[in-house]
């Protein structure tokens, strides 16, 4: 690779050193980053109309952070994401373990069924959850927090644990089955083998899966929109109701906070994964839009 970096005219495959492609890349970067950066910059703008730069202020952060309904929604979102991540990782790891270790009748069918929550359009899953919680399992109204978030948490787990299962299963492909047999030969019980041999091997995938599940849950709007009630508003649902009417600096400030949170989470994920290409590749699976 290193001999490619030299001052000679670009080699045949050094597409990145051609100016046409450099311009193209720059334009795409502006297209993707421009709107987000301007949103972040103008969250510090000292003007209600929020178009022309009037000066630096933190007022809108103060307003966003003291806005009770916005902060409740933010807290709800984080709680839902945390609880659904824990359960999704557990369920996903169990499913991956069963699929990796056993052959059983109906395995192909189960594989397909497990991929369904990933490919089914979000809106279909949203209405399914709406109908389910309206007719089959009516979630009691007025439960104390955080029990009132149960319906949303359940639906978030349903769409995120298959993602965890995929990530963990990919990791298990590199596991040497002889290690498991060796552990058992040396007298370890099933449970000890899982705890001391298999789970340590899974760990990087568990972390990646957890971050994926957390981001998916934090990001979800459509499915939550169909399962949330008046007292269980999440951050995206709250922002949606604010955005429908106007573009205000408070929303900019709140969005900036959320962007920062995701960037930090991503940075942690990249750090833990080592290879960012790989991390990015994991999410190339059809993610909820």
């Amino acid at each position: 690779m290193s001999e490619r970096i030299r001052k000679a005219p670009p080699g045949p495959l050094e597409y990145l050193r051609r100016w046409q492609l450099q311009v193209w890349l720059a334009l795409v970067a502006i297209f993707l980053y421009g709107p987000l950066l301007s949103l972040m910059v103008f969250s510090f703008n000292d003007s209600r109309r929020n178009i022309v730069w009037k000066g630096f202020t933190l007022d809108y952060y103060k307003m966003a952070l003291t806005d009770e309904s916005l902060m409740t929604a933010f807290g709800n979102s984080l709680t839902i994401a945390a609880v659904s991540t824990v359960i999704s990782v557990t369920l996903g790891a169990m499913a991956a373990l069963a699929l990796w270790r056993f052959r059983f009748p109906g395995k192909v069918v189960l594989d397909g069924a497990l991929a369904l929550p990933i490919v089914v359009p979000e809106i279909c899953m949203g209405v399914a959850m709406l109908v389910f919680f309206a007719k089959v399992l009516p979630w009691p109204q007025g439960l104390p927090w955080p029990l009132n978030l149960g319906a949303i948490i359940i639906s978030h787990i349903s769409f995120s644990f298959p993602f965890v299962a995929i990530v963990v299963r990919a990791r298990m492909a590199s596991f040497n089955r002889e290690l498991e047999e060796a552990a058992k030969d040396l007298g370890a019980t099933e449970w000890m083998t899982i705890r001391d041999v298999i789970v340590p091997h899974m760990t990087p995938a568990l972390v990646a899966g957890a971050l994926l599940a957390f981001t998916l849950s934090l990001d979800d709007f459509v499915i939550t929109f169909f399962t949330s009630g008046p007292d269980t508003v999440t951050f995206p649902v709250k922002v949606y109701s604010m955005v429908r009417f106007s573009v205000t600096p408070e929303v900019n400030a709140a969005s900036t906070l959320l962007i920062l949170l995701t960037v930090i989470l991503t940075a942690v994920a990249l750090r833990l994964q080592g290879d960012p290409a790989e991390t990015a590749g994991h999410t190339a699976a059809p993610t909820k839009p």
Binding site: Y15, L16, A98, L258
Partner: protein
């Protein structure tokens, strides 16, 4: 070698039981109920009777709704095509970048990790009548208006802001904005797996870059390109938020119609039929993709 489930029934049941239960009870059962509703009728205000009627499906293929289906498919296809055109050079540049730069270039796709709603909102702020584009254009217009009399032209009239938001243009732009990373990442992983010596051979033997691209890269990376197309097309087809926030009254897509049946029109059986039609369309797209990549695999030894 995988173990037979009979050899360790307890472990098998313990590991598979909970996820299987969850999948059936909290995913498949809700879908099955919607499926059953799609053959039902509203009976009274809140009750739905399962009458086994096909009238909901008949209503869904009336011209009014059929048009929305076709329009959604067309919008999703156009979005996918634009993502492919915009994303392919990006994926190509990343693939052949030095390893150190690669990681940084993949960060181009970082906005993909931020909340969909936040991204759509950011785009609204850029496009609206008092948005950044119109303000900049208006400012340029004013500047030109100042210069025009100096060079002997008629003074320009008042600036009329462009209507960039709440139309089909905004919906397509928004869908491309949101789905571009979905396209670039699979394209990148497909191109990265290519055998570079084949490309070099093609260039050495006198084919130009364009010819190498169309006759060597495209056939070899076909499966990866198709999976990128599928991964972009499916969410674009079922998009709800983008047409809802960026679109106008005539840019509704299937998902918006479904939402309205469930949340406002209160015609659940019809909404259920529509959502299952959308689901069937999705499955057809997946099947077509599988078929295309299998045929392509057969062509190449």
């Amino acid at each position: 070698m995988e173990q037979s489930w009979k050899q360790a029934k307890a472990v098998f049941a313990g590991a598979l039981g909970p996820p299987l239960f969850w999948l059936i009870f909290f995913f498949l059962v809700p879908l099955a109920i919607v499926w059953a509703y799609s053959f039902g009728q509203n009976a009274g205000l809140t009750d739905i009777s399962f009458t086994g009627t096909f009238s909901n499906y008949a209503k869904a293929i009336e011209p009014l709704y059929l048009k929305i289906f076709f329009k959604s498919a067309w919008v999703a296809a156009l979005t996918t095509f634009l993502c492919l055109v915009v994303g392919f050079p990006v994926a190509l540049a990343i693939t052949f970048a030095p390893d150190k730069l690669k990681a940084w270039l993949l960060l181009i796709m970082l906005p993909f990790w931020t909340n969909l709603l936040v991204r759509t909102y950011a785009l609204m702020a850029v496009l609206r009548t008092e948005g950044y584009i119109n303000i900049s254009l208006g400012w340029l217009w004013k500047g030109m208006g100042g210069i025009a009399p100096l060079i002997g032209l008629q003074p320009l009239g008042d600036f009329t802001p462009l209507e960039l938001l709440h139309n089909n243009f905004a919906v397509i732009l928004g869908l491309v904005y949101v789905h571009l990373p979905f396209m670039v990442l699979p394209l990148y992983s497909a191109l990265d797996r290519l055998d570079r010596s084949l490309l070099e051979a093609s260039l050495d033997l006198g084919a130009g870059h364009l010819r190498t691209l169309t006759q060597v890269v495209l056939p070899l990376a076909f499966a990866g390109i198709m999976s990128g197309v599928l991964i972009t097309f499916i969410p674009a087809l079922g998009a709800y938020l983008t047409p809802d926030l960026l679109g106008g009254p005539d840019s509704q897509m299937i998902a918006n119609v479904i939402e309205r049946q469930f949340k406002r029109a209160n015609n659940w059986p019809f909404g259920a039929a529509m959502s299952f039609l959308l689901m069937y369309l999705t499955f057809i797209a997946i099947a077509l993709q599988a078929l295309a990549s299998r045929r392509n695999q057969k062509l190449q030894p």
